[in-house]
């Protein structure tokens, strides 16, 4: 069924037409500032009005404005991964619904990776057209990661949750209750879903109002022309950054491992820079029967993130930054999967894609790229039954070490690359779920050594207070985060259960009283450890981040002071 419709080329939006309205660079900046404040306001409204811990505390959601043709005008700085859900959503809407049938007050909902433009099913997208007068000028669009669809299989996408193609949740302002009820019945925690969807609706409504005000103030033509100019501007900045890289092909490979799949896989990239354009060619094994596959738009958003972060972090997150980049990966492979591959944990592979893209760019731009960070997105998913018979689902993702920087140590206990969600306060966690957090700390000795060391990984130790089901997903268990320029690799991840089991795949039963411990990877080091400043080694030793043996063994040559301390 899903294969009946022709696949949509997600980036084949209408070419940017030369607009008859010209805007000066100052008006562009003024309107650009207004667009940014609109998407930021949407993001705040979504977080504040939501109910699920994954959005209200962990802020696993994103907001954006697209122009009427489907180009990104502006995305709020939340979760880079979510751009993947945005870029293909509108093309899928337009494929199904002719523009003349789209009315003010329509709200489209969707999540499917193959038919809806999504990258995995929990990211449910809501999009609302913005009309100025009777003219469609733009789209308000947001996605929230609904922590639901727990305890499912991942042999193929049909096991992973309810698949929603773009359909109208509202038709000219009227809620389509049939649709809503069908979706909610397929969710394990419908009350949270309903409340979060309401928060998503309210965020889009705000965006519609603000954008209409902006169009009234400047005229829709001028706002759209400024939008085009902002995209051209992002493109120019990207091209300027790429042009500064010597022409050539830069390759990098790394092992992608996950506790969800028995075999480690090699992922490779060859980045070819020619003038002010960049081509990224990936090689990856065939798609797998696990929730690790990446849909093409997920690969694209990962490349946009990884290249922008190295070339120019200030480039506006709009469609213009994509224009100098071309991306290819074998069809049906892990990085460009086909129906019906499972995609739930695609972020794990995307994290490794970002690692290898930056690894390759490190060869092109020495001194500009960090060593590998924790390179995964360790996810813990708990689900159980409350005394009243309703289900509870709790998702958290745990950061780790950031890679050492060329001129500074890496950051400890952070998310890297495609995600940047918050932790849940212990005091909120224990109030809402039958879990007790016994320890939450940095892992001593987890950072990769170097002139600048990597960041430290995290340890979370939970006690289970009521029987529940649990799964953990993550990578860099064997494939340690690499160092750069002589820096050493960091320690990898480890998941321990008090029954002596480690790193188990899939969902398992946990009993009340049981203790589980999740340890995430550190970040790789940068530069020769022997060149680390003695006072930095001494500080790490004093602060118990490393042991005396490690100080004398790994850093010893550079640190007589640490040596003395180690011997004492």
């Amino acid at each position: 069924m899903s294969t009946e419709t022709a696949p949509v080329d997600p980036v084949a939006v209408d070419p940017v037409t030369v607009d008859p309205v010209t805007v000066d660079p100052i008006t562009v900046e003024v309107i650009g500032s207004a667009l940014t404040s609109i998407v930021e306001e949407m993001g705040e409204a979504l977080v504040r009005a939501s109910y699920s811990t994954n959005i209200k505390e962990r802020r696993d959601c994103s907001t954006a404005l697209f122009d009427w043709r489907g180009n990104t005008l502006c995305q709020a700085e939340h979760i880079p991964m979510h751009l993947g859900s945005f870029i293909a959503f509108l093309p899928n809407v337009r494929k199904r619904f002719p523009e003349e049938t789209i009315r003010p007050g329509d709200v489209f909902i969707g999540n499917d990776a193959y038919e809806g433009g999504g990258t995995h099913l929990p990211d449910i997208v809501l999009a609302e057209p913005i009309f100025h007068g009777d003219r469609l000028v733009a789209w308000a669009i947001n996605t929230a990661h609904h922590a639901d669809f727990a305890d499912r299989g991942h042999a193929h996408i049909y096991q992973e949750g309810v698949r929603i193609p773009p359909v109208r949740l509202y038709r000219e302002g009227v809620l389509q209750e049939d649709i809503r009820n069908l979706i909610l019945l397929n969710c394990q925690v419908p009350r949270e879903r309903l409340s979060d969807l309401r928060a998503q609706m309210s965020a889009n409504h705000l965006c519609v109002r603000r954008m209409q005000d902006l169009c009234s103030k400047y005229g829709a033509d001028k706002v759209l022309a400024a939008g085009d100019a902002l995209q051209d501007y992002a493109e120019r900045k990207m091209r300027a950054g790429i042009a500064a890289i010597p022409d050539g092909t830069y390759e990098f490979a790394d092992i992608f491992d996950s506790n969800q799949f028995p075999e480690p896989m090699e992922l490779k990239v060859a980045i070819t820079v020619k003038g002010d354009a960049m081509h990224l060619a990936f090689d990856a094994p065939p798609q797998v029967a696990a929730g690790l596959n990446v849909i093409y738009t997920g690969l694209l958003s990962t490349c946009y993130y990884a290249v922008k972060a190295v070339i120019d972090p200030t480039v506006l997150p709009n469609a213009g930054l994509a224009r100098p980049l071309t991306v290819e990966a074998p069809e049906g492979s892990l990085l460009n999967c086909k129906h019906p591959a499972a995609v739930d944990g695609r972020i794990a592979a995307c994290q490794r894609v970002a690692d290898i893209v930056q690894g390759a760019l490190a060869k092109a731009l020495p001194g500009r790229v960090t060593a590998a960070g924790n390179g995964t997105c360790t996810g813990a998913l708990f689900t159980g039954v409350r005394p009243d018979g309703s289900l509870w689902v709790y998702l958290e993702t745990i950061g780790g070490g950031g890679g050492a920087r060329p001129h500074a140590d890496g950051l400890s206990g952070i998310h890297v690359h495609m995600t940047n969600t918050s932790n849940l306060p212990v005091e909120a966690l224990e109030l809402e779920y039958p879990l007790t957090l016994l320890r939450y700390e940095l892992v001593d000795g987890s950072a990769g050594a170097g002139t600048y060391r990597g960041g430290m990984g995290l340890r979370r130790v939970y006690r289970i207070e009521a029987d529940c089901r649990f799964s953990v997903e993550g990578g860099r268990l064997q494939a340690q985060p690499w160092g750069l320029d002589g820096g050493l690799p960091a320690e990898g991840a480890r998941y321990d259960f008090d029954e002596g089991r480690v790193n188990v795949p899939g969902t398992i039963e946990l009993k009340a009283g049981q203790i589980i411990e999740l340890v995430t990877p550190g970040g790789g080091g940068y530069g020769d450890p022997a060149a680390r400043a003695p006072e930095d080694v001494a500080r790490d030793l004093r602060e118990e981040r490393i042991t005396a043996e490690f100080a004398s063994g790994t850093y010893g040559t550079a640190s007589p002071e640490a040596k003395t301390k180690a011997m004492a």
Binding site: D24, P25, I26, V28, E29, V30, G32, A34, T36, E41, A45, V47, A49, Y51, K56, E57, E77, R191, S195, R198, A199, S202, H205, R210, Y233, K237, A240, Y305, K308, A309, P313, T314, V315, T370, G402, G403, L411, S412, G413, I414, V416, N420, S422, N423, P425, V426, E427, A428, E430, L431, L437, L438, R439, Y440, L442, L458, R539, R542, E544, R545
Partner: protein, 684 residues
Amino acid sequence: MTWRIGVDSGGTFCDVCLFDDETGRLEIWKVSSTPDDPSRGIAAGVEEGLATVGAKAADVSFLGHGTTVATNALIELKGVKTGLIVTDGFRDLLEIGRQKRPSLYDMTADKPEVLVSRDLRIEVPERLRADGSVEAPLDEAAVRAAIRRLNDAEVKAIAVCFIYGFLNTVHEARVVELIREEFPGVFVSVSHEVAPEFREYERMSTAVVNGYLGPVMQRYIDRLQQRLHDLGLGATPQLTQSNGGVIGFETAARLPVRTVLSGPSTGVVAAQAIGRMAGFPNLITFDVGGTSSDVALLQDGVCKLTGEASVHGYPIKAPMLDIHTVGAGGGSIAYVDSGGLLKVGPRSAGADPGPVCYGRGNTEATVTDANVVLQTLNPVEILGGRMKVRRDLAVEAVQRLADKLGLGLMETAQGILSVLNANMAKAIRVISVQRGHDPRDYALMAFGGAGPLHAARLARELDVARVIVPRTPGTLCALGLLLTDLRADFAVSRLMALAPEALDGVRVGFRSLELQAAEWFESESIGVERQVVSRTVDMRYAGQNYELSVPMPAGEIETASFEALAEGFAAAHMQRFGFIAEGETVQIVTLRVEAAGLVSKAEFNRLPDAGADASAARIGAREVWMPEVGGFTECVVYSRDGLKPGNRIDGPAIVEQMDTTTVILPDMQATVDPYLNLVLEARS
């Protein structure tokens, strides 16, 4: 004679504002700051000011003081060596924070420096449960050992924060007792006193910042008190807090974290008083300094408090006026970025070398230079003639930008102002539209050295009908100190559904807060007739995570009070989010009591109407470039000092005074009100 004195001590100047309660005479005195020991400059300023007006220290009935000592110590990381005692398993929480990296894309961005080094963060066995009950008792031997270790390390302050310490204070309080025994004299900052609120990281961060600043503040206050005492001052000095009220030195020394945002808050308080006096209770304040600008919104004369803010990267839970700061001001540098767009700030030329037109070697155009090129600012001299201006250098600098942009010189200069305005408009949208307020319902009060220069166009950008420029825009903070009540806020987190069963819990909660307020009134010697207590409840729909503040009706707490709370919450939720979740449980999160001790404030006299003719204040005319007329147009220049109540000025015109310049656009008029405020609006 009884004099009231406001002293605002900043980085460059110390402003002293003297007000004679009997005659209404107002004098402003400026002296240079003495950053090595700010109390010296303050004492000098007070002494000189008093001498000038011919008063004695004994005549002073009130001294209010705003200081940046705590703020600067935090920014410059010049607090004291601090230790932290935490629940076993959580010493790294201070470093982990909320796990977010500081910038999504920029890997060079750093987290703020952790204020307690890891070896001085000591875990002790103890644990409370989510309902406040004790799961694991406090290991006192471990606590004593921890304190001794911190003593050996010679820390000057110890912060204490346990998981759920806000719900049950038993363990934290015991640790404080043990510290008194083991390490007398060390500054103690304990989470349930500093910020008794939900969310452990933010509470811990607040307790740590408070400890880190405590001894710095203590030392400062001791010195200042001594100097003021030596001057013969009898009045008890008061210090401003971030909540816009003042507080006694003793409390300020114990809770310095409550003063970290006190600087801008005094300006807002002054704006509030002036707005009320002039008949504009609904205000957006626009305070533009050299490197940054602050905006705030006052509805019905009240600026909302926020319970939490990030100050230089450190989350702080303390009652603060909801002030939004933007990293752009008059000294901000304009540049063309690699994509060809014009940007302004956040880099600033500072006071030295300052803008290009100061001729001190800076070659990068600033906002001030753009104003000099346009001649909105006096192209010959500013600061009442104290500073000569090199317009030729400003022109060269702006021309370089114009060449890069492919625009004309004047268009580029005007563009710099437009970009700055766009930044300011964005900041104002955050505090207005994002909070459910339409800026069109407000007047803009412009102050700070550069506020009145840019206010008219900003008002137009936001469709705001009126701009008010107070008489002394450059020293408004010092003036605000004369208009401020004593104020303390007390809060306690209590999670319960808004239902009759919660009545007792709410009553008990408020009773304990009111008791604390009573103790505070007592300690500040505030008589019953001067006491004002108001209560609010932070609420949300059960399941949400951000609360909205709703006033609790005065009097006994009954079922009807809960009905009023429910209605208030629904209205607030509708205003903020545009929907009401019918049938959903509303949850009480935090109870708050605000205690104010009314002080008799400076009262300003209404001056008699002197008629519309402003010609007596006319000091000249100059060509000013205005996009509204497409080029240079002649503007009459008036001296603010010569303007009288009732005077009317038609735009385009410029009003100059020592501390600022006001621009009146071509289709605007300005009238002088009975309090000498300048009110700008569209020409009638």
